[in-house]
Symmetry: C2
Subunit: 253 residues, 2 copies
């Protein structure tokens, strides 16, 4: 009899989010699950880690731990202090909201997956395009399971994690999983400027996403056309294609 | 007469850090400078942005603004609310401490540069390997100026920003600037477990960096051998080399 795979589950919406409950349910059909997730929502935390304050863990149940830190902290502390052995898989999500295109950079969900990847653990971040807390995860669960099974079976190349986004449509309407590249797009900020009761300006960050990429091989295209998007993501950020050009620059001339 | 370039200066150590003062001095020899930097240290913030609280700006002088947000917030709010025109260059730093190898992922300094790059602004993050607040920036200033001049003259390819690290040695000992790739390495965490006066466990995140990369074309090699390292960094994280392999996976079988 083979040992059940050990699966670390985390997220950035916090341990009470419906998305992580759905993700945990699916993973329990595939292996032994330990959940280590933030004790409060951490959206937009990017790859933040906690250097200037302390970290606290609460054991919630036999297999669930909440942590005062960021998603990347959760992975670090799970691997080093909570799990008795190295996990076979780390999954993060299911995020309430998209992490396609440039959102991967700001995403706490993906930072947890990337942190696991840095530590050599196969890892996947899952996001559903429905931002609502009462999002229906039925369709997501089917694809989460199928993709996680593939990763458990095939592994992932060193230095690569997966960024999976699931469109907010009925499960029957989803056409399948498409392997994609990250679309080129960004957020056009619209700062909402207000005044305190004392008359001092302050701002809320908001904005709208703009897709500048007409390619039909992007995550944005896949999601708009009814597919689950799967982007392999790397954390070697070197722009190798620029090295030759930069070598022609003259420094300290 | 040509218009002076507009240069946005930011960092993650906070607006009072010696590193940003040194960086500002250099930039004032190259153009018109506006500083928009965090009002308190933001090390390890990665690409965090502030979504769940408000942002506040204080005008400190004619050209200096402090902001309550993260480094990425500073760039967003500078471009949208403070600068009257689009900056020609954004520089971040000089960070007190290394942002070489995998540190680029956790770095607030680099997240500011990357945010500017996402908005299409040529951008550079500068870091000095000396962690101390009283670090000597004489050597750094020479190379900061030379690299910034090159970027102002040549521009940068779309989707690329520069990650520059400067070794902590005398300026005469620095051999020059080396164009590098990001070394493969990571942090081996060592959680320092303590107890509150009430007997409850808590943790401090610490650890040591390990370089797994023997290449002589890496930033780690350059820094160890007396060079300033310059890594071109991209924020399209797609691992293109994996797409073909992932296309052979069978989903929902």
């Amino acid at each position: 009899m083979t040992k059940k795979p050990l699966i670390l589950v985390t997220n950035d919406d916090g341990i009470a989010a419906p998305g992580i409950i759905a993700l945990t349910e699916v993973m329990q059909t595939l292996g032994e699950v330990v959940v280590v997730a933030p004790d409060s929502p951490q959206s937009g935390m990017g790859h933040a880690i906690t250097l200037n304050s302390t970290l606290h863990i609460e054991k919630i149940s036999d297999y669930q731990y909440s942590c005062s830190g960021t998603p990347a902290d959760c992975v670090k502390i799970a691997v080093n202090e909570i799990l008795g052995r190295r996990p076979d898989l780390c999954v993060s999500g299911i995020n309430h909201g998209s992490n396609s295109s440039i959102n991967v950079i700001y995403s706490g969900t993906m930072s947890a997956a990337i942190e696991a990847g840095i530590e050599g653990i196969p890892a996947i971040g899952f996001s559903n395009l429905n931002y609502n807390w009462d999002a229906n995860f039925d369709a997501s669960k089917i694809h989460v399971k199928s993709i996680a099974k593939n990763v458990l079976e095939h592994g992932l190349a060193q230095g690569v994690v997966l960024n999976v986004n699931i469109p907010n449509i009925d499960k029957e309407a989803i056409k399948g999983v498409k392997i994609c590249r990250q679309a080129r797009g960004n957020w056009k900020e619209e700062f909402d400027k207000r005044q305190t009761p004392q008359g001092k300006d302050y701002y809320w960050l908001s904005g709208r996403f703009e897709n500048y990429d007409k390619g039909e091989d992007t995550d944005e295209w896949a999601l708009k056309n009814g597919y689950v998007s799967l982007v392999p993501v790397q954390f070697d950020l070197t722009a190798h294609h620029c090295i030759q050009q930069l070598n022609s620059w003259i420094f300290n001339a």
